[in-house]
Symmetry: C2
Subunit: 461 residues, 2 copies
């Protein structure tokens, strides 16, 4: 009856099933405006359901205005329900799934070793840190982040980098990408430029371009950004990685740091200092942030994606006072705040100094992997290459004079099971770094590094 | 010596202390360019530290370019380190802390009852759902969200609302605010308008304004958006709350739904359907989403902030296929992805149907509180008011003909310990809803509601 076929072993209630079929019939015009519906008693009998079930379905249809009931008269289909046929929807062909490769050698960058992360300890901290959460912690707690975490972060920045920061100036973010996304919003001025290093992490470049910034690339050499090329005539900010240039790996020398700060002062612009992995420096201790030289002008961005694990989605910014009110407003209307659970666990990880010990352990391990990689390259490739940048981080750039590494090369490698990135991929002015390869090694065991390099050699040979 | 005072019981290493003092001396010009430093042996003796400590400090200074060492000659301070005095930083006076009120009556909106949320159960689910996470789950897992959660969400949308959605079309977000933030990015066209209901949640309005949209308000009556005033000549999207208009509370009738869909088709624009609390409907079952009438044109936005708790930071969008590639790109360059822990716990909450039972329990409780509030208003205020909208959600609008509730009134209430929002606060065209008050009651116990209403009566009397 009425084209209604009920499925009795369905999680959707019978009333809802009736409602759905009838609603569809009304919007497609099968049930015409003004048409009278059978009384609930009649309909119930026809469909072999209880009268209450039909009553509930009619109620739902009435509540949403599909049915009209007038005192003492029959229930009828309302007017104006019929929809014309929808226009065909453009299918998005580009969304079809990318071919999946099985990588025999996976030199992608930015990957810490997840196997060596003490996952069990983390889950334990997550438990202990959250089991005593008061009820209000489960509500909205503000765009700044958990006070405990900001306290612990300030202490950690001081003992690991000598950076003196007030906890109030630290704002927790959902990772460094979000930090840059929000800063782009905050600092954007119509028609003004942002200075970036060239080459520069292409993901971060996309964040800035997404906001609409005009990009002015400043060339980078072995030591970092080349300050003699700075031009701030139309810039409102600069995005830099002085602790470990991405991707070329230089640690910016003090003279250039001073020039950069002076340049920012002369041109009244902000410096965004992205310190994404300076914990892992294999000679000496971490470099003092640029931020310590002028906290009113440098915005310091840090992340725990490399130190701990990417899925934690916790980063932070150290913000000059004059930007903090606008930051709060912006974060509130972007995604409100981070969830508190990971924040509390991280605070506990810092408080107990277990994080410090983890960093120490991983620094040693990553340093060894870097050595393995360099030795193996020497064994396999002889003297045809040289390493760029300083001994730090989870990636390295190798230069092979005379070779050409472009997108075609990378694609070819991919098809042979090798994930490797030409520096060209991160270059803004193309053609300047064609002889350089970028390799991530933090997540690879020694024998994976060896096998990977042998495979790469076969590919290049 | 050298103005270096070491603190031996400090977490900052002695080497770093030496480094910091000397670096400051160089940038302020106390240590001049070209000045020779004492040999490590000499300096170590002067400071009563080991020679290695001084060596490490010099190494740090050298690595960053503060010192220059030439073969066979002394270590000297590098050139060009000195910074001019920084310009004074503009202090942000508006960031000074807002006065904190103790609310005796807190009728703020959008607050579920956190005391009644089974926090212990949640933490248990969090533990069981994450203890077997494979290592790769701790890395980057893509902008779509955990597959398990998307599956469970699709099943839940079907059994709770009869909405047929493919899990692939569901994208997890960090709450509904982020969903709207990303949709604003996605749908924005320079110079084009977005249609919004008037009144409309002011926070959501800020999200749209923040993106730069021109806002065209469409008036709302007791049943929701008034479709006869729709004007799409320059619009690219509309943001609506058909399941429970915020704040006026109407459930949009079927005829207006059909008109809205037809209007969107005729003007080729997207509808953003924000279904923020339709789980809590106290008559009949949740309303069928607009989205089910035209999934290619309606973007459905949901959140767990009200059903569970705000700090979970999980929402979702059901996206038409043609928008999905751009969404992936956008989310990746905004904040990459949600953390996986809460997602896994929520998937488990849904899979075990414990969420369904929680919703049922809370629906009953919130319904009772609504009744308590209405009864108490009648007792205290007599017949001077009427309730607007349908029986749903965690808030209610009361109309007091002849009264005026504006910002002054709200501020006055605040100072007397009452948090209450005039509808005017959420109005775009001011002056249309001056006689209406908005009260959230979901988080209040019966006696808090009673006390609050008595206090409000004193205030208004």
């Amino acid at each position: 009856m009425w084209g209604i076929e009920l499925q009795r072993k369905n999680e959707v209630s019978l009333a809802r099933q009736i409602y759905q079929v009838m609603r569809d019939q009304m919007t497609t015009g099968q049930l015409k405006p003004g048409e009278a519906l059978p009384a609930t008693r009649v309909m119930a009998k026809q469909l072999s359901v209880s009268r209450n079930t039909v009553y509930e379905a009619y109620e739902m249809l009435s509540a949403e205005g599909y049915l009209v009931t007038r005192q003492g008269s029959q229930t009828r289909v309302a007017e104006g329900l019929r929809l014309e046929k929808p226009a065909p929807v453009r299918e998005d062909l580009s969304s079809s799934v990318q071919p999946a490769y099985e990588y025999l050698a996976d030199f992608r960058t930015g990957q810490p070793d997840l196997q060596r992360f003490p996952r069990h300890l983390w889950l334990q901290l997550l438990r202990t840190a959250t089991e005593s959460f008061p009820a209000k912690q489960w509500g909205y707690t503000g765009p700044e982040g958990l006070p405990d975490l900001r306290e612990e972060l300030a202490a950690w920045l001081f003992r690991s980098r000598g950076l003196v920061v007030h906890p109030q100036d630290i704002f927790i973010t959902a990772g460094a990408t979000q930090a840059l996304h929000l800063l782009a919003e905050l600092l954007f001025e119509e028609g003004r430029e942002i200075l970036v290093e060239d080459p520069c992490h292409i993901g971060m470049l996309h964040v800035l371009q997404g906001k609409g910034f005009k990009i002015r690339p400043i060339p980078v050499d072995n030591h970092g950004i080349q300050t003699q090329y700075l031009d701030g005539s139309n810039a409102c900010a600069a995005y830099v990685t002085p602790s470990h240039q991405f991707p070329l790996g230089g640690i910016l020398p003090a003279g250039r740091r001073a020039e950069l700060i002076q340049f920012a002062r002369d041109n009244d612009l902000y410096l965004i200092e992205d310190d994404y992995d300076s914990e892992f420096r294999y000679k000496g201790t971490p470099v003092a942030p640029l931020c310590s030289m002028d906290p009113g002008r440098v915005i310091y961005v840090g992340t725990f994606s490399k130190i701990l694990f990417p899925a934690i989605r916790i980063g932070y910014v150290v913000l000059p006072r004059q930007l903090q009110t606008r930051w709060r407003h912006l974060r509130t209307h972007t995604d409100v705040q981070n969830p508190p659970f990971e924040q509390a666990a991280l605070a506990e990880y810092l408080r107990t100094r277990k994080l410090d010990r983890h960093v120490q352990k991983m620094r040693k391990l990553y340093g060894q992997r870097r050595q393995t990689l360099l030795q193996m390259f020497e064994e396999v490739f002889g003297k045809t290459w040289s390493a760029l940048g300083d001994a730090a981080g989870l990636h390295i750039v190798l230069q092979f004079p005379g070779m050409t590494f472009d997108q075609t090369f990378a694609q070819h490698c991919k098809e042979c099971g090798i994930y490797i990135t030409p520096v060209e991929y991160h270059s803004i002015h193309k053609g300047m770094h064609l002889d350089k390869l970028l390799l991530g090694y933090g997540h690879l065991e020694a024998d994976e590094i060896r096998k990977g390099i042998l495979l790469l050699h076969k590919q290049m040979g």
